[in-house]
């Protein structure tokens, strides 16, 4: 493992605390942050306006049809939920694996997870023909004596995603409590003191509290780890359990999870790189962090690539005429450009990550993270749309053409995501302060690996 320290430069408990807390408490608003906030706010407003229009007119405003009954909405859903995986993965897995470098990135990664997963959760509802009845997926004793249909992967989705959201929120909040206490004690105005104080729940860092706290946190991590895997596996079952050629495949769960982390870590970089720059956090989020994230991207990317190969292989190995036709259709059909785009963005280009120079080149990583996210979105589109467009009976084949609303709502949802994130970094400490102190402590103890 590299020798570069996880905290660069000469920092003490106090200075770490002040540095991070002041971003929230004292730092004057930067014009770029303000500009970003306004732009993304406008996009968010459009997003909700579009929803209103969608609800009044119907999903017909999108390009969906028969046979392609699922379009952007489901693709976006899968993509967002994928992005929403990195945070909890970082917090949970890396904690269990004693990866100390997680401490400086887990807080904002978890926030990212929450926002992404939240937005992801919107899409299936927007996608419904009658969204106002979405609550029928919730089991409750109704006057109809009728229940959800438990064999449907969509019901599993509902449970998986809501569980994931709740657990991630708990995990994130529990992690926040000591830092909220810090902000409470450093708050300058009464209001801030009250607000932070309220959410800090009167935390006072007593030894027994810390002991129980760490146990609970570890348990949460232990629970969240399988949860992360389960969520995208279940999402993948929406497809794998279908009989459509291009859906019906056992490779989906692992390959979806890998893809999720792939895009998730890409998003972490997309967020971390500008943040560390604008808020001068280079000493906490060091190149070593970026390097590690890049390595994980490389690894998950290779798993995804394996998934692509395996799909093609099984198609021809199985000699199933429908699978073969589907594969050829992906290669040369009307949506071939998407497929090759996916291969380029997710498989070919990311191979540059083998080079240390690239992994430590901030700009290169940033660009790459965007490429990968584009690639992963295209992959979702490829799976959802091109598979449906040509299934069993040639007579029912058809194409999907996105409409203005398809595209604009996707873009707007991205804007909404960044809006939430921009708010977050000015309201809560984007880096776990107490864990940084702990890290410093261990460093002093010479325990730092």
């Amino acid at each position: 493992m590299s020798a570069t320290p996880l905290i660069r430069g000469r920092w003490g408990y106090a200075s770490i605390t002040d540095k991070i807390a002041d971003i929230v408490l004292h730092r004057p608003t930067h014009w770029m942050w303000a500009a970003g906030l306004i732009v993304t706010l406008m996009m968010s407003v459009f997003f909700f306006g579009a929803m209103g229009y969608l609800f009044t007119v119907g999903v017909g405003i999108w390009g969906v049809n028969i046979p392609v009954a699922w379009g952007f909405a489901i693709g976006n859903f899968v993509w967002w939920i994928g992005i929403g995986h990195a945070g909890t993965f970082i917090s949970a897995f890396l904690l269990l694996l004693r990866q100390k470098w997680r401490n400086s990135i887990n807080r904002f990664a978890e926030a990212m997870t929450l926002f992404a997963a939240g937005i992801a959760g919107l899409w299936p509802i927007l996608h419904l023909g009658r969204p106002w009845f979405a609550y029928w997926l919730v089991p409750y004793p109704s006057v109809m004596n009728y229940w959800p249909q438990w064999r449907s992967p969509l019901v599993w989705d509902f449970f998986a995603i809501s569980t994931y959201l709740i657990v991630s929120l708990l995990f994130w909040y529990v992690g926040l409590v000591p830092d909220l206490a810090t902000l409470r004690d450093r708050a300058t105005t009464r209001a801030k003191q009250m607000v932070y104080g309220f959410f800090a729940l009167g935390w006072r860092g007593e030894a027994r509290h810390w002991a129980r706290y760490e146990t609970a946190y570890l348990l949460l991590a232990g629970l969240a780890a399988p949860l992360v895997i389960s969520v995208h596996s279940i999402v993948s079952l929406d497809f794998a359990l279908g009989n459509t050629p291009g859906y019906h495949s056992t490779i989906f769960p692992p390959y979806f999870v890998a893809g999720a982390l792939y895009s998730g870590f890409a998003m972490v970089l997309t967020l971390a790189i500008p943040m560390r720059h604008f808020f001068g956090l280079e000493d906490f989020i060091t190149k070593r962090h970026l390097d590690n994230a890049a390595k994980i991207m490389l690894a998950t990317g290779l798993i995804v690539a394996y998934g692509y190969i395996a799909e093609v292989f099984t198609a021809f190995y199985s000699q199933d005429e429908y699978e073969i036709a589907m594969t050829l259709n992906r290669f040369f059909g009307p949506y071939a450009f998407v497929y090759w785009g996916v291969i380029a963005c997710n498989v070919v280009i990311p191979q540059v990550l083998w080079f240390r120079g690239v992994r430590r080149n901030v700009l290169a990583l940033f660009a790459l993270s965007l490429v990968i996210q584009l690639g992963m979105w295209s992959e979702r589109f490829m799976i959802v749309v091109s598979s449906l467009s040509r299934d069993f009976l040639p007579s029912s084949w058809g194409l999907f053409v996105p409409t203005f609303w398809d595209v604009s709502m996707l873009v707007a949802s991205i804007g909404f995501f960044f809006f939430l994130f921009l708010c977050f970094i000015r309201v809560l400490p984007a880096i776990t302060i107490f864990e940084m102190r702990e890290l410093k402590h261990e460093e002093l103890e010479g325990k730092e690996p």
């Binding site: 119907g58 009658r130 229940w147 279908g242 009976l393």
Partner: protein, 964 residues
């Protein structure tokens, strides 16, 4: 049964209230009309009840029952509010009547089906008959009399006409002209005679755009008198068709299809019949033919001449003609040659002679008086035109029809009308012609008036109204009566008198009731004429080199009168699968030579007329011919039909109504966007349609098509302890006519979605007819396959629905619970047959959708965001179940008939209960030809198919002949 019927039929004013009760949550008290309220309830969610303005107008108009007694079709049920009743009547199209049964719910006609007792129907109904219900409810119908576009009163009209008649009286009516369409109504004929007796100098003209001048002229050539052939395809082992789509169009086509397919299905007794089709534009007859040869119009005549020669013992250099000749000769007495209207009169004469020579006459073909009379429309219209030109026409009464739009291109009818001082247009809807006339008089729909009509074989039917005129319509008989000296009685009396004389005796009354009840006048079929065709020599001109244009009626719009009918507009044309459009059909080769693709535009110039039309490449179209469908491009059809497609009439001349040679064609810039319901035409080796030839079919007796047991499953078999509904579709019998699709649309309140939505792939038909090509693009073999829901026992759609909105019921039907559906569309993704339809938008609120009153009250109207699909006409099953349960017995085989099954002219669809091993469907399932679609997926469909069996001549191997 007077009182109850009368009550039931007259449950009207209440009904209007009823429809609104839905909103106001009140019910009206008039007998049964409360049910209408309940109907409106059951029928729709509350928000559906906010009717479109037009529909509201209708609802307020309400439907009073006709004032006279009308007699329902023999119905197993006792009349009660909420129980539909059936009335027999007849629809006239192109002068020939087809018997129909009209389902009436609380006095509101909601569906039209065939009348089993009627020779032209035998229980089946075509697209036009069924879609006529939408014509009745069309909000664009004329709402009142207009004088130069301004509302006028009936009094005003009557006075105007009366004065006119007074004025014309001295001149014996010189200057009075009536322009009619083909009519086979004895009553109307009698009225016209009376009129001519009063005004000897008056003239009656006839114009039917899809006239039968050629065949009538041919008969005159052959027999020296007009006659019409009546075919008995049941007696024909070999049929040779020259551009004659005898199963798809023209008087009696339903009957022809039935006879032909009955004969073909009877494989056991006799060898199946064989059909040779020499035709230009691909038609249904061509699709079911064992051998089809695409030929340009000129070449067709030559082929016929060759055939004649070959039959004379000469030789034919066209191999298929030779084969056909040989086949005909070896089946003397059991064969027939049929020729289409597009063939020249000489060709018809020649065919008559050949049929006589082959002994077909008396067997497969008989001759009768033309039911619409001996009329030459072309001459008749030209005569009228020249008189209008000369200004000798003073008063012109146009009884139906739309000559301004559909007169031949070289008859400038609009301009000529301007020279007529008083012109009265009497039609269902305001149209191009009414705009050019002084008066427009709303006509009653045939469901609103009394009349009579004759079928293709002369059988007469009484047309009885099942609902009082929705608007102040005037029936044709009343219209003519206005010109006559005032006579007593009502149209009903006139019609009755026509058939029973003035006598009101009990016997007569009983006969009258029987006529109305059965829908046919007993033994009224025309007696056959004994005719011998004389020799005529037919030397067709050399086939033209340049492009030849072919004019055909639009498969959905007929001559254009159905242009405002959304159901018909959205029915895919059988071969091109185009909707809401017509196109210039080109063969692939011709398209290549012109350098055009489907969607490109070409300019066609012929004579003085020129036209720009979008191209659609149609496999099976002969090279160097362009087929143009008439009936599109209406400008004053109504909200639905305006500006759909292009108008081809201007290119058509009186002299050459069906084809023209020597047209100039060039590609012009611009793209046209077509909407088609099927994007991929080949089967890609997946063989959804299994084909075999007779010998192979015989072989199946030992080894059925599907002899291995169904694939293994991990799950225990689900036990079905009561009825097990199932369906079999026989692909041999299916002629691809779309009757099932319309029937389903009418029965199940299926909305239309419009061109743009179809283009997006959002059509709603529950049963679609897939069309596949096989073999070369130039001369493909065409296969049709109706695809409803397969009602899989292991339904993939059900497993993925998160809210259990689609589940199996205990009788094995895969039901869709609309009020539970949230619209995830997962079920559609998981349906390998893609038979599920989704309301992406609020289609039932579209403009042009029928009003609530026209809907089937037994079926929920679906709002947006809901999935829907075929459910084996659940409402019909339920009705039967409730009735039989009340009687404490099981449903008998054949007691439940699905809408598609009822409509099918060839009985291709069998439906019934599998738990009864003697039921028709159980027997069908045991046939060696039975197979299920995508069996390897182990969805265990309840709907299965019988492979398509063809009977090609072993001596010829046509391109792309079938092979399982």
């Amino acid at each position: 049964m007077n009182a109850p019927l009368w009550r039931d039929a007259s449950a009207g004013p209440g009904r209007a209230a009823g429809a609104f009760d839905g909103v106001a949550d009140r019910i009206s008290q008039w007998d049964g009309s409360g049910e209408a309220g309940a109907g409106a309830f059951a029928l729709t969610r509350r928000d559906f009840l906010k009717l479109s303005a037009a529909a509201a107008a209708l609802a307020t108009a309400g439907c009073r029952g006709p004032v006279e007694e009308i007699v329902p079709y023999v119905s197993p049920r006792t009349a009660a509010p909420g129980v539909p009743q059936f009335f027999a009547t007849a629809m006239t199209l192109g002068g020939a009547g087809t018997g129909v049964l009209v389902e009436s719910n609380m006095g509101r006609p909601t569906k039209i089906e065939g009348n089993p007792a009627h020779p032209a129907s035998l229980g089946s109904a075509g697209m036009y008959e069924q879609a006529a219900i939408l014509e009745l409810w069309d909000p664009d119908r004329s709402k009142g009399i207009t004088l130069r576009g301004q509302p006028a009163t009936r009094i005003a009209l009557e006075t105007a006409l009366f004065e006119r008649m007074e004025k014309l009286g001295p001149a014996h009516g010189a200057g009075l002209r009536i322009l009619m369409r083909y009519s086979s109504s004895p009553t109307l004929a009698a009225q016209v005679q009376a009129l001519l007796r009063r005004f000897p100098a008056a003239r009656v003209h006839t114009w039917e755009p899809l006239h039968r001048d050629h065949s009538l002229a041919g008969a005159r050539l052959a027999f020296g008198r007009a006659a019409e052939p009546v075919y008995r395809f049941g007696n024909a082992d070999v049929v040779v068709a020259f551009d004659r789509d005898f199963v798809g169009e023209g008087p009696g086509h339903l009957r022809h299809a039935r006879d032909f397919m009955d004969r073909r299905r009877r494989r056991e007794s006799a060898p199946p019949n064989r059909l040779y089709a020499f035709e230009c534009t691909p038609t249904l007859a061509g699709a079911i033919a064992d051998h089809r040869e695409p030929l340009a119009p000129g070449a067709l005549s030559h082929a016929l001449v060759q055939l004649a020669a070959a039959l004379q013992g000469g030789s034919a250099d066209h191999p298929l003609v030779a084969a056909a000749a040989a086949d005909l000769l070896s089946h003397r007495g059991g064969c027939v040659i049929v020729a289409g209207e597009s063939m020249p009169p000489e060709a018809h004469a020649l065919v008559h002679r050949l049929n006589g020579q082959l002994g077909g006459v008396g067997q497969a073909v008989e001759y009768i008086e033309p039911v619409q009379g001996d009329i030459d429309c072309t001459r008749s219209l030209q005569a009228l035109a020249s008189d209008m030109e000369a200004g000798t026409v003073d008063t012109l009464l146009i009884l139906g029809g739309n000559p301004v739009y559909d007169a031949a291109g070289d008859v400038p009818f609009r301009e000529l009308l301007a020279r007529v001082p008083l012109s009265v247009h009497h039609a269902l809807r305001p149209c191009e012609t009414s705009a050019a006339c002084t008066w427009h008089v709303p006509q009653t729909h045939f469901l609103e008036h009394w009349s009579d009509t004759r079928a293709f074989d002369g059988t007469a039917s009484i047309v009885q109204p099942v609902v009082a005129p929705l608007y102040d319509g005037i029936s044709p008989h009343e219209m003519v009566a206005m010109l006559l000296a005032p006579i007593g009685g009502t149209p009903r009396d006139w019609v009755r008198a026509q058939w029973l004389g003035a006598s009101i005796d009990a016997a007569g009354e009983e006969r009258w009731r029987a006529m109305l009840r059965e829908g046919v006048v007993p033994d009224s079929a025309a007696r056959t004429l004994q005719l011998r065709a004389r020799d005529i020599d037919f030397a067709p001109p050399d086939t033209a080199k340049a492009w030849s244009l072919v004019f055909r009626p639009d498969q959905s719009l007929h001559d254009g009168e159905f242009a405002n009918n959304a159901w018909l507009q959205e029915i895919p044309r059988t071969h091109s699968k185009l909707v809401w459009d017509n196109a210039a059909y080109l063969s692939p080769a011709s398209a290549r030579s012109l350098g055009v693709e489907s969607g490109d535009r070409i300019e066609i110039e012929s004579g003085h007329a020129r036209l720009v039309a979008p191209v659609w490449i149609l496999p099976g179209q002969p090279d160097d011919t362009i087929t143009l469908a008439l009936g599109n491009g209406r400008t004053r059809a109504g909200r639905v039909g305006n500006g759909v497609g292009f108008d081809a009439y201007p290119l058509r001349t009186a002299a050459s109504p069906w084809s023209r040679t020597g047209a100039n064609v060039r590609k012009v810039t611009g793209e046209h966007v077509f909407a088609t319901t099927q994007n991929h035409a080949e089967m890609d080796g997946r063989d959804p349609v299994r084909r075999l030839n007779v010998p192979e079919a015989e072989g199946l007796r030992e080894k059925p098509l599907e002899d291995e047991p169904p694939p293994e499953t991990l799950y225990p078999e689900w036990k079905y302890d009561s009825y097990r509904w199932a369906m079999v579709v026989d692909l041999t019998s299916c002629i691809g006519c779309n009757a099932c699709t319309i029937a389903c649309q009418a029965e199940n309140n299926i909305p239309t979605v419009g061109k743009e939505e179809v283009r997006r792939g959002r059509e709603m038909h529950w049963i679609r007819v897939d069309r596949y090509y096989e073999g070369s693009h130039g001369k493909p073999r065409t296969h049709f396959q109706p695809v409803p829901c397969m009602q899989c026992e292991n339904a993939p759609c059900e497993v993925v629905c998160p809210v259990g909105a689609t589940v199996h019921d205990s009788e094995g039907i895969n039901v869709q619970i609309y009020n539970r559906c949230v619209g995830t569309r997962f079920c559609s993704n998981n349906c390998p047959y893609k038979v599920r339809r989704f309301n992406f938008l609020h289609y039932t609120r579209r403009d042009g959708e029928p009003p609530l009153d026209a809907r089937n009250p037994q079926v929920t109207l679906r709002m947006r965001g809901i999935m829907e699909k075929c459910n084996y006409c659940l409402q019909r099953i339920t009705r039967a179940r409730i009735e039989t349960e009340r009687e404490g017995r099981r449903i008998r085989d054949g007691e439940v008939v699905t809408a598609c099954q009822a409509a099918c002219p060839t009985l291709a669809i069998t439906f019934g209960d599998l738990s009864d091993s003697r039921s028709a469907v159980s027997q069908a399932k045991r046939s060696p030809l039975d197979y299920t679609l995508l069996r390897e997926l182990n969805t265990r469909p309840r709907t299965s198919y019988h492979a398509k069996v063809l009977n090609p001549n072993p001596d010829v191997l046509p391109p792309g002949s079938g092979g399982g």
